[in-house]
Amino acid sequence: VTKAGDLHEQLERAWRTPPGWRALSGVNHSSIGLRFIVTGFVFFLLAGVLAMLLRAQLATPGGEVLDAAQYNAAFTLHGTVMMFFFAVPIMEGFAVYLVPKMLGARDLVFPRLSAFGYWCYVLGGTLLLSSLLVGTPPDAGWFMYTPLSSTPYSGAGADFWLLGVTFAEISAVAAAIELIVTILRARAPGMSLQKMPAFAWYVLVTAIMIVFAFPPLILGSILLEVERAFGLPFFDPARGGDPLLWQHLFWLFGHPEVYIIFLPAAGIVSTIVPTFARRPLDGYELVVLAVIGTGFLSFGLWVHHMFTTGLPLVSLGFFAAASMAVAIPSGIQVFAWIATLWNGRPVRGVPLLFVLGFLFIFVLGGLTGVMLAFVPFDWQAHDSHFVVAHLHYVLFGGMVFPLFAGLYYWLPLVAGRVSEASGRVVFWLVFVGFNLTFLPMHLTGLLGMPRRVYTYDDYVGWGLLNLVSTVGGFVTAIGVAAFLVDLLAHLRYGRKAQPDVWQAGTLEWSLPHPVPSYNFAAQAAVDARDPLWADPGLPRRLAGGEGFLGRAQGERREMLLTSAVEARPQLVLVLPGNTWVPLVAALCVGLFFLGFLLKAWWLASAGAAASLLVFLAWAWTNGAPATAADDTEAAPGQRLPHHYATDSPPGRDGLAWTLAADGALYSSLVFAFLFLWTVRPGWLPEEALGGGLASLAAAACLLASSLAAWAGARAAQRGQAARRWLAWGAAIGLGLAWCGLETAAVFGSGVAARDHAYGALVHALWVAALLHVALAILMAAFLLARCVSGHAGPSRPGEIRIVVLFWHYAVALGLVNLVLLRGLPWLGAAA
């Protein structure tokens, strides 16, 4: 056995996902990424079957394939499953699988979090689809507009939707945080941001968008579920709420969502085009700027889904301008791809064919998008089949075609085999079928056919166009079936792939096909954007263990972390191995959701308590005691500290991004309060919570607790045990005092939660702040225990920094609450 073979075996033993049913305890990013992709594809097929039912029903006037209730449930589930359970998760699956390999890393930085996210996704999808088994599927549309989705008009189906989708969104946010921290901290040494593969830029921007875009919908779903379960009126116009609040929260999520789906797909295109053009991406900097620009602009477009709601013309004009402006970054990317191909010497292949199909369909979808940004045209086309056609051009063309391109392109990494020309058949079937379905549908919409109608009369003259669309839909379905056949044939009979089968330049192609579980036998240092084109000898050297961490350390999983901008080697991360904790945690969270669904509050409480315990157990296994080695040799002659011995472990970045998501969630709640206050005259009741001495005392408690936490953290870092106990004790006491004061203020005011949206929001804000402060107190107690056990202290500063950061954050929320609920109304009354 050679030395390289030895190393390979030892690393494989440390990193592999166990066989059989124990594979469910696997946390390796390749396993998790593939699971996301396969599960996402299964959801794609399910939602596709629903689409075929819809098309069959609409094929002729007065169709009788489905009745009204079945049709409404089918289109609701089709949209919901495609958006939340196919498009976002499968793209995250691609990112989870590819990003570490492209960055030259061995795994993502929080492997257990990716596994947890996967299980939340699977359980959320199961919960949603179980509504079909009990015969109450959601049927209020994937956009769930209130009041149709509220209590008198929707049954349990709406609860299935709200809980299932929220469960899955936890997964999206978890994966996003993980990808951000990995991209910023785990790149190969020398891979500065300017040398990062374009795909990683796309994923980074997408993940940051998820962190800020998903919370508004999560908040909206929580409020709607609370309105349905407990009668707190957030959206009920008769009690101070507003249906438009739901629309704002939904589209604050919903428009970024479109780009969250599109950008990773465009990242696939920006990866495949240079490979097939045999030259680096032209205009790399412009493309990166365009992607960042898209990310920003996408948050300023949401009102273009609300052009017909009667909003003031001034705001319509603003959002029309933003909606048109977002075409520019897309244009830059399109011309960068064309320029790269034009300047290169393109070789042909199935992935490039799908890219060309994408180009046609996506540009057409973009152009009809510009038309819809032309407000008066939108007044006609909105909620007609024209929009159905447009959105499928953007999403199916913009995302599914690159998805197929990516599947054919990266399959050799997974299967070790290379695709044959049969992929062309798949392409032509899907391409022709898709256009046959949706090109005529523009016209159907312009002839006046609204969306979401289960039937139409003969005399309106929409029959022929609908029949053509249905035929096209079935051709598309045959194309997808052909893909499945092709995939199985590929896995079974495909030609064995040579290493770097496409002669690409990015690091994932330096790996043997199929890829080993640890990715890199040694981690590379790079100094070019396409490292394999710059240094063709790199794969051989890495396989031989030349580079960083080119060694095995028993069962221990090690990988290198680098600085965020320049990617200088910083520390060695010791990763957890396979564990059942993520699955158990997701199941406990699932119990909470199930309890909510069944209105079995004991079950929901038990689920919440069990989740908390599992998360505490999870946290307890982090880090290392003070007796463990502080540093290690990362490369010959270069010693680096272990992550647990520094004050900037990846967990701190993880917390910072979690707080960004949580802050977005809380801001959405603040937005709800300010929105209703602003749009509904006389909304704030006379007997609003007062300012007064009690609120000053509450503010003083909060500020003093932050001071005490700061002192406690300092004492812990200096190893001063007595001061540490004293200061944290004071912080906890002050936190508890604030909880008491706030609770007394809310209950003492007599503001009722169910009578009016104001009271409902007072209670929501109070609960939100209370939960944060309670969690901060729990974390402080946990930290004290960790100090005693030696996992936190002078040589283990990371967790101290994490707890104190969360403490200050919770205090900030409490202060915002005071300003919002007491300060502003007091100012308003005084003015």
């Binding site: 116009p237 438009l244 365009a290 520019i328 791809w337 034009w342 046609f360 152009l367 006609q380 609204p450």
Partner: protein
């Protein structure tokens, strides 16, 4: 067709023509870039192509389009036409209330009678969930949202029957929530509203 719908239709044809040209051009460039023998074509300056095609051209075209759209929007702002009717949306039908004349108020169901050639201000409100008022051949649509009052001006240039349909998904029988707008000669409408012309009762 009504004047508002006609203006939008004109805009559609202009945009459809422009979009087809752009689509053809981009696809031609893409095919040229992939399939033309690289030895027999000149390489472009990438930056010029990217900035010219992706930034300058769309910026100019979109600015012009935006300006036109804003002008059209301003024209669509509801004025104060003399005739105002109330339209109340229910799951799944439309209730029509005409202005009271001579003590009696005409009402109707799923049929809105208007005078041809005269703008009519429709006040929209909902009794239950969100609906949307849409008569494609007369004007764009306007959502009808519980807790909000909305207004839309419609006008039919000629007498005729114009089909309208709820455009916001509103529950089980959303597909059947149809409304007919019947435009009759103005003098006939006036007589009918005043209750003088029994022959003009809704059919």
């Amino acid at each position: 067709m009504g004047p508002a719908a006609a203006a939008i239709a004109r805009a559609w044809w202009v945009m459809a023509g422009g979009a087809s040209l752009i689509l053809a051009l981009v696809c031609a460039l893409g095919l040229w870039a992939v399939y033309r023998n690289p030895d027999r074509r000149k390489a472009p300056a990438p930056r010029l192509l990217i900035i010219g095609g992706g930034l300058v051209f769309p910026a100019v075209a979109l600015t012009a389009l935006l300006a036109w759209g804003l002008v059209l929007m301003a024209q669509a702002a509801p004025g104060r036409p003399a005739l105002q009717v109330q339209l109340v949306a229910h799951q799944w039908w439309w209730e029509v209330r005409y202005p009271a004349a001579a003590g009696a108020q005409r009402t109707g169901t799923n049929e809105l009678r208007i005078p041809a050639g005269r703008p009519v201000l429709v006040h929209l409100s909902s009794r239950d969930v969100i609906h949307s008022f849409w008569v494609p051949r007369l004007a764009g649509k306007m959502d009808v949202i519980p807790g909000h009052q909305r207004r839309l001006v419609i006008e039919a240039a000629q007498p005729g029957r114009f089909r309208g349909q709820c455009a916001e998904f509103c529950g089980a029988q959303h597909a059947l929530m149809v409304l007919w707008v019947v435009a009759v000669p103005a003098d006939e409408f006036d007589r009918w509203l005043a209750g003088a012309d029994a022959a003009a009762e809704p059919r």
